[in-house]
């Protein structure tokens, strides 16, 4: 039978088919961070259970960690306890843990691929919804809650019902300076914040083939914002090239064997999908979210919608509510929105390519007067080191940005980096939910290049026009 990529990985990992139609699925890799794991380790302790396969687990602290004065440790007592709890749990169970001052430390979804922990064809879970990121390497990856973290620790398996197959076929190529962030925001706007619920999405088509592996990660990362727990992209030469020479990639001894297997990781030509959506990459312009759901997106030349133009009462009310929260007027030009803060970082956009794109825009410019703070938070120690090697840190600092240590930072503001009430931020992160970046804070999601341009201009502006005029 013809299979999709999702079918293939699923079938290879099914240990048992349960009576209720769900499957017991074997998990190859388990990534653990400080926020969603303490209660899981506690659960094991209470029941006197052991961990099934310690070698399959990699742990790191990223959500709660300071991005300034790293050497001084964590000031906040409660955060410090959460991080030290993870360290204690890892040392007690002999689990690999990347310490705050280790170059391998970083956002869990950045370091997984970067270190070769994530490999094609694997099943991979983490107590974090953006685990979908790892699907860019043709691995079936999804976020789980803490009860499931405990379940995977104890059994190496998870009971899950198979999702349906959704194909998003992206024709043609993105225009120059339009990024994969714009593409995924455009797709979420197109299918809605629950358009992918109940599905595993496979992104394919000419556009996807041309995207770099890092750009693909941005696309898969935000699958969850369309409701899909997993996004997938088939293995190809770019994936192979990415996998070589990583710290935890297969050793020389097994690389040929692994590669042979990886080459099977794409959907069969006539595999059946439950649903197919076609997107034309040529239609994608730089995007800016105006509301409090990632589906509330419009291109930078557009306007904030007018609720009076919408007949569906439910939609109308949600637009009204979002406009009130965001303090925007119906019909307002996106380019007229003035910003207070700029955040370049997060598991969506903190890789070296993202930083290069942003640095390229701001090189030789200064941030606008109305910008109170602009920060760059590299996704990992390695990204930071590479950027410094390329002197990108200098570009940012000279423009007025702050150059920080790796972590989740202002994407969710669990550490000291957050918005003050009513502050407005151009952010390269993934969620514009109410209060996400700080109580009453206002988030506009954009690409790294768009965030960099917003920093210089003080408001949103079209990156394509800007570069072409240069």
């Amino acid at each position: 039978m013809k299979e999709t990529l999702y079918d293939k990985i699923w079938n290879e990992h099914q240990v048992h088919l349960n009576d209720d139609g769900s499957s017991l699925l074997y998990i190859d890799r388990h990534l653990v961070h400080e926020v969603t794991s303490p209660q899981a380790f506690d659960g094991l302790k209470i029941k006197k259970r052991d961990i099934w396969n310690k070698e399959s687990i990699f742990a790191v602290s990223d959500h709660n960690v300071p991005t300034l004065n790293r050497k001084a440790g964590i000031k906040d007592e409660i955060s410090r306890l959460q991080v030290s709890t993870l360290i204690d749990n890892c040392s007690k169970h002999n689990i690999s843990y990347f310490d705050l001052n280790d170059i391998n430390q970083g956002i869990v979804h950045v370091i997984g691929p970067e270190l070769g922990i994530t490999q094609p064809g694997m099943t991979l879970v983490c107590g974090d919804s953006h685990t979908s990121t790892h699907g860019a390497l043709a691995s079936l990856a999804f976020g789980i809650g803490t009860s499931d973290v405990e379940h995977v620790l104890a059994t190496q398996c998870i009971n899950v019902t198979k999702e349906k197959n959704l194909k998003i076929n992206i024709k043609n190529q993105l225009s120059e300076f339009v990024s994969s962030k714009d593409l995924i925001l455009y797709i979420i706007n197109h299918i809605g914040a629950s358009g992918g619920t109940g599905y595993t999405i496979e992104f394919m088509g000419e556009c996807v083939k041309e995207l770099s592996v890092e750009s693909r990660m941005t696309v898969c990362n935000m699958s969850i914002e369309a409701g899909a727990k997993s996004g997938l992209i088939a293995f190809d030469d770019k994936t192979l090239e990415y996998m070589i020479m990583k710290k935890y990639s297969p050793s020389k001894k097994y690389l040929d064997q692994a590669t042979k297997y990886w080459e099977t990781l794409s959907s069969d030509a006539d595999a059946i999908f439950d649903k197919t959506i076609i997107i034309d990459a040529k239609d994608v312009q730089p995007q800016v979210t105006w509301g409090t759901s990632p589906e509330m997106t419009v291109h930078v030349g557009g306007k904030v919608p007018n609720p009076d133009d919408v007949s569906n009462l439910e939609k109308k009310e949600s637009i009204e509510r979002a406009l009130k929260y965001m303090d925007l007027k119906a019909g307002q030009e996106i380019s007229s929105i003035l910003l207070d803060k700029i955040f370049i970082g997060s598991c969506t956009n903190s890789r070296i390519e993202d930083l290069r794109q942003a640095a390229n825009v701001i090189k030789g410019s200064k941030i606008a007067k109305n910008i109170k703070q602009a920060i760059v938070v590299p996704g990992s120690g390695h990204v930071k080191a590479q950027a410094e090697k390329e002197k990108l840190d200098k570009v940012f600092i000279n423009a007025g940005f702050e150059w920080r240590e790796p972590g989740c930072s202002m994407c969710l503001g669990m550490n000291d980096d957050s918005l003050e009430p009513y502050e407005r931020c151009a952010s390269t992160s993934n969620r514009n939910f109410e209060g996400r970046q700080g109580d009453k804070g206002r988030t506009h999601l954009v690409s790294p290049a768009m965030a960099a341009l917003a920093a210089i201009k003080g408001h949103f502006s079209n990156i394509v026009d800007y570069i072409n005029a240069k």
């Binding site: 240990v15 048992h16 139609g21 017991l24 074997y26 190859d28 926020v35 969603t36 303490p38 209660q39 506690d42 029941k47 396969n53 070698e55 959500h63 409660i78 955060s79 306890l81 959460q82 709890t85 490999q119 064809g121 694997m122 974090d128 919804s129 999804f142 789980i144 809650g145 009860s147 499931d148 379940h151 059994t155 190496q156 398996c157 009971n159 899950v160 019902t161 999702e163 914040a193 629950s194 619920t197 109940g198 409701g227 727990k229 935890y248 297969p250 050793s251 097994y254 589906e295 439910e314 009310e317 949600s318 969710l412 669990m414 969620r431 109410e434 209060g435 996400r436 109580d439 009453k440």
Partner: protein, 215 residues
């Protein structure tokens, strides 16, 4: 049966796409226990002042929010609109709902990870049609003292006006709510099968099991 009937006051929040950040904001995720999240449920809508785990200060209540109004403040059945629980995988959202006293949530759809987390904690989620949901919201708007009776075994919701709505629920989810069980223990009944699978994979995909020392 231990847990077959859920009966009580409804809390209507007619909003779509309520995310888990709104259900429980990030600052409470620093806790290392599963308990005590109830006072922080819908925190930024419920209070006028921001809070965190360390503040003992009394915060000003937002009287306009439904959870601060009678009879809703003692409700145990939440009715809300589609895609409830979207966003972050934080199970703390379910712990907060449960700790507040919510036993069931009714909507037209739920986010996938939230759905799993809920049943793992014996929080009943009921999916009904748009028409049925509208009907419920209409009836509630006529009388704030509005109690539903949910019979899990029979898969029915009965309104005060004796309207009966049937709902679908997966047998194992139903069993989980009614009887509760340790699903790790259930999985470990397949221990040998898991071990066999793993042993086989060590032969077929040996690179997955290379230890860090071997490299």
């Amino acid at each position: 049966m231990p847990n077959n009937i859920i009966k009580g006051q409804v809390i209507p929040i007619n909003q779509a796409n309520i995310d888990t950040d709104s259900i429980i904001p990030k600052q409470y995720l620093k806790a290392i226990t599963k308990t005590g999240f109830g006072p922080f449920l819908f925190d930024s809508w419920r209070y006028k002042d921001p809070g965190d785990l360390s503040t003992k200060n009394k915060r000003r209540i937002n009287e306009e929010f439904i959870l601060n109004q009678e009879p809703f403040s003692s409700g145990n059945i939440l009715i809300t609109n589609n895609n409830f629980g979207c966003g972050s995988s934080r199970e703390h959202a379910v712990w907060a709902l449960k700790d507040f006293g919510i036993q069931a949530v009714i909507s037209t759809s739920f986010a996938d990870i939230f759905f799993r987390n809920s049943f793992k904690n014996e929080l009943l989620l009921i999916t009904i049609t748009k028409k049925e949901l509208e009907k419920l919201f209409n009836e509630i708007s006529e009388s704030s003292k509005y109690c539903l009776t949910i019979n899990i075994q029979n898969q029915t919701i009965t309104t005060p006006n004796n309207l009966e709505i049937n709902f679908d629920i997966n047998d194992s989810d139903k069993d989980k709510i009614i009887n509760g069980y340790d699903d790790i223990e259930l999985t470990l009944k397949h221990k040998n099968k898991i071990q066999d699978y793993e042993d086989n994979m060590k032969k077929i995909k040996p690179w997955l099991f290379e230890t860090n020392d071997e490299k």
